[in-house]
């Protein structure tokens, strides 16, 4: 266990770096996923097509392919940014497709009558979505979207491996390959770091679900 105790500060800074990626990733993919889900249920056909295409293409590509495209493909067509930005953008876009589908499950669970009643009192499409449908859809979407966010936290390791650097996974990698520490204790430390994010996330989601539960 020396590998962990001797490098505690490294692990801690890696943890914080990963946590930052995950927080921005969660915020970004929740917002983007909501926008894409809105497109998929919009009354305008081109928006629906756009939303469906987004989900179909991105959900069916491996995360590594999406990240390589961002990190090495975009510079080829003249779009340049650092690895951190590319990595985070790739993670957000990849996760948004899954958030969208989780949200859509929630939207579909809201009875059509709720939206009809909203339209019948004169609310516009956007108003009935934001006032009536989405608040109820979010409740039902907490379990599936929560799973997506937890998967995203773990996927952040892939982003780290792609050269963002100094995140939890990269710390583990450099300790084992460059400094020659034994893999098992180091990776145990890395795993504990990820559990320190995913377990509270899971507990938080459970609490949130109980708090917003409502009788129908």
């Amino acid at each position: 266990m020396d590998a962990i105790t001797q490098n505690l500060d490294l692990f801690w800074s890696g943890f914080l770096r990963s946590l930052t990626i995950c927080l921005w990733g969660a915020v970004g993919s929740l917002i983007l996923g909501t926008i894409i889900a809105t497109c998929r249920v919009a009354p305008v056909a081109p928006l629906r097509t756009f939303g469906t295409a987004w989900v179909t293409v991105i959900r069916n590509c491996p995360l590594t392919v999406v990240l390589v495209m961002f990190a090495f493909g975009l510079p080829e067509i003249g779009i340049n940014a650092d690895f951190y930005t590319f990595g985070l953008a790739g993670l957000i876009i990849y996760t948004s497709a899954f958030v969208c589908e989780g949200l859509r499950a929630g939207i579909n669970s809201v009875s059509a009558g709720q939206a009809e009643a909203a339209r019948a009192i004169g609310l516009t499409f956007t108003q009935s979505l934001t006032q009536i449908v989405l608040p109820q859809a979010f409740r039902t979407s907490i379990p599936p979207v929560g799973s997506v966010i937890i998967a995203m936290i773990k996927n952040s390791a892939v982003v780290g491996a792609f050269g963002v650097g100094r995140d939890l996974f990269s710390v583990g990698e450099s300790l084992t390959s460059a400094q020659g520490y034994a893999a098992l204790p180091v990776l145990t430390g890395v795993a504990i770091g990820y559990l320190m994010m995913t377990l509270p996330a899971g507990l938080g989601l459970g609490a949130l679900e109980r708090r917003v539960a409502i009788a129908r």
């Binding site: 709720q114 009809e116 009643a117 339209r119 019948a120 009192i121 004169g122 609310l123 108003q127 006032q131």
Partner: protein
């Protein structure tokens, strides 16, 4: 109605009778040659119907006759393929903000209440006035409490819909529609989902509205309400308006065979 319509269509000349004199002045809802299909099924066939201001029209007919679709088409919850529907002289726009504006003037009460499940009773009634009419919250609350009192819901304003009985929920739904100060109210089988002992509390509120001069289009199976409150009964069958008349004439002396057949089935038990 200045002159009685002349019967020129031979297919239903036996059924169509001159429209009864309604306590009305100007046409408020006008449907002309409205047609709608669900796939191959022709659910609305050349519907012509004019409802005057202050008139109470009850639409009855066997299930699948198109009466609910007709009711829902009037505020475009159902689209239709041809024909026009005008509300207070304005044709229904296809979609967007103009349609939303027009819908705000048309109150709708659904069979399954459709109260907003995540909002309190008071919030259900104030949402439209605040978001659509731009009323400030205090005024909207004050008005909501008045309307809830009018429909007999006084203690439950801070509860959620699921905590109320069906009859109470439907009365709240009526208050929610009234809060928009609609020009016309549509009722789509408002008592069909209610336990028998709760039907009257809803019908009483509706009868009160009719007495106060509200223009109403009511799809219902409640013949007692039709007799008591309607100026006119419209009988639909297979997507057509087969017969329209005063309630008294219609129930005692139906002209068409389909109306006779329908009435014999529902009035004999």
């Amino acid at each position: 109605m200045t002159d009685a319509p002349t019967d020129t269509n031979p297919t239903d000349s036996a059924a169509r009778t001159p429209e009864p004199a309604a306590p009305t002045h100007r046409p408020l809802v006008v449907l002309e040659k409205v047609n709608k299909h669900f796939g191959d099924l022709h659910v609305l066939k050349d519907i012509d119907l004019t409802i005057g201001e202050g008139e109470v029209v009850v639409v009855i007919g066997p299930s699948g006759s198109g009466k609910s679709t007709l009711c829902r088409a009037i505020n475009r919850l159902e689209t239709f393929e041809s024909g026009t529907i005008q509300i207070d002289g304005v044709s229904l726009p296809d979609e967007g903000k103009e349609l939303a504006k027009l819908r705000a003037d048309v109150g709708m009460v659904f069979q399954s209440f459709n109260l907003f499940a995540h909002k309190t009773i008071r919030e259900n009634v104030t949402l439209g006035p605040i978001k659509v009419r731009g009323l400030d919250k205090d005024k909207a609350n004050e008005r909501a409490d008045q309307l809830l009192k009018r429909v007999g819901i006084t203690e439950q304003a801070d509860k959620y819909p699921a905590q109320l009985s069906g009859g109470q929920q439907q009365r709240v739904a009526i208050a929610r529609a009234l809060a928009m100060d609609p020009k016309v109210m549509l009722f789509d089988e408002p008592t069909s989902a209610l336990d028998p002992e709760m039907i009257n509390e809803v019908l009483d509120v509706m009868t009160g509205l009719a007495k106060d001069g509200m223009t109403m289009i009511v799809v219902t199976h409640e013949m007692g309400f039709a007799r008591r409150a309607a100026n006119r009964v419209v009988f639909m069958s297979e997507g057509r308006i087969v017969e329209e008349n005063t309630p008294q004439e219609f129930f005692t002396n139906p002209k068409s065979s389909r109306a006779k057949d329908f009435l014999s089935k529902i009035l004999t038990h």
